[in-house]
C-alpha cells in the first residue's frame, strides 16, 4: 500500500516512517509538514493510506479530511486522546494512534487496513453524496467555495478562474481537474475553456449563455448536451 505521512513535527514524521519501514505492506512515497502541500500531492497521485496528524497549525487534520472528495484510508496520529470520538465520525478513518506510538499498537492499526477496505467500498457512494463544497489553494490559504455559489469556471493557461456572485479566485489548476471535482448534475462544460453552473443561466442565445453579466461561448459540440439538460417548455 502506498502511503504518505502528514505531520508538522519532523520527529513524529521520522518515527512514523520508521514504523512503516518495518511493515512490508507499506511503502512511504512522501512526507509533508503541512496539509496544503499534501492536498496538492493527493490531487496528482494515487495514495492508499495517509498517516495524518490531527493537531497542525492553521489547518487541522480534520479540516484536511473534509477537503478530500474520495479520501484514502486514514490513520490518525495525535498526542491528544480527546479527539478519538470525533475521529471515528469520518468514514475513511481506520484507526487513531496516540503518540508516542508503540510498535505493537502500530502493527494493530496496519492489520486493520486490509479489512477496512471492504467497509469503505460499501459506504463510498453515500460519502460522495455529502460533499457540497470545494477547497482551493489561493495564496497559500485553502479557501472554501460552495458548489452552489460557483457561476463559471474559466481556463486561463496554467490557471483557472472560479467566479461566484461576488468573488473571483485564480487557482493553479486545470479545467479537467476541477470538472472531476464538481457534481455532474450541477455543472456542464460548454466550451473548451468554460464550465458553467446550469442553475445560474439567465438566458441562452445561439452560441452563448448569459450568466450574471458574463457571456459564455458554447461550442457546437457541447450545444446538444446543454440543450438536453434544460427543462424546455
Amino acid at each position: 500500500m502506498n502511503c504518505i505521512i502528514v505531520d508538522d513535527d519532523s520527529a513524529a514524521r521520522l518515527i512514523v516512517a520508521k514504523l512503516c519501514s518495518k511493515a512490508s505492506q507499506l511503502n512511504v512515497l512522501d512526507e509533508f509538514s503541512n496539509a496544503i502541500e499534501a492536498i496538492k500531492y493527493l490531487n496528482e497521485n494515487d495514495i492508499d493510506v495517509i498517516f495524518l496528524d490531527i493537531h497542525m497549525p492553521t489547518f487541522s487534520g480534520f479540516d484536511f479530511i473534509k477537503t478530500l472528495k474520495n479520501p484514502p484510508k486514514i490513520i490518525l496520529t495525535t498526542s491528544d486522546k480527546n479527539f478519538a470520538l470525533e475521529a471515528f465520525e469520518y468514514p475513511s478513518v481506520v484507526d487513531y494512534l496516540v503518540k508516542p506510538i508503540e510498535q505493537a499498537r502500530f502493527e494493530k492499526a496496519v492489520n486493520k487496513l486490509s479489512s477496512f477496505s471492504v467497509q469503505q467500498e460499501k459506504s463510498s457512494s453515500s460519502e460522495g453524496d455529502a460533499i457540497t463544497e470545494l477547497y482551493v489553494n489561493v495564496d497559500r490559504r485553502l479557501v472554501k467555495i460552495n458548489f452552489s455559489d460557483i457561476n463559471i469556471v474559466e481556463a486561463k493557461g496554467d490557471y483557472i478562474r472560479i467566479k461566484t456572485d461576488d468573488k473571483s479566485h485564480i487557482v493553479h489548476s486545470t479545467l479537467k481537474k476541477i470538472e472531476d471535482k464538481l457534481p455532474d448534475d450541477m455543472f456542464l462544460k460548454v466550451h473548451r475553456s468554460y464550465v458553467i453552473n446550469l442553475s445560474k443561466i439567465i438566458d441562452i442565445e445561439d452560441n452563448s449563455v448569459l450568466i450574471k453579466q458574463d457571456i459564455i461561448p458554447v461550442s457546437r459540440s457541447n450545444r446538444s448536451e446543454l440543450m438536453k439538460r434544460l427543462n424546455l417548455l
Partner: protein, 111 residues
Amino acid sequence: MEEPNLKYIKELSEGDIIFENKLISVLKKELPIEYEEFLKNFKEQNFIKTADNVHKLKHKISILGLAKGYEEASIFENDLRERKEIKGYESFVKNIEILIDFLSAPLNKIL
C-alpha cells in the same frame, strides 16, 4: 524527579544507529528553538500559541521517556487552552530544561 532515557528510541530503532542519530539530531536542534518560542508566547500571554508550543514539546518529552512529565504537560496544555488557573508552568519548564541539558551532550555520549 524523572530522568530522561532512550528506552522508546532504542525499542523503535532495533539497533538502527542511523535512525537513532537522525532522531536525536532532530530533537537536539528543534527542542531549544521550540522552547524559546514557548517562553516568548507565554511572556506575551498568547495562551493559544503557548498551548500549541506545549503540544509539540510534550511529544518530545514522551519520546525521551518522561512519562509523568508528559501527563503534566497534557494538563498544562489543556489549562492554557481553557484559560484555567495555570499551575503547570514551573514543572514544565523544569522538565524541558532537563531534556535540553540531556541533549546538550555529544551524540556519541547520548547514545
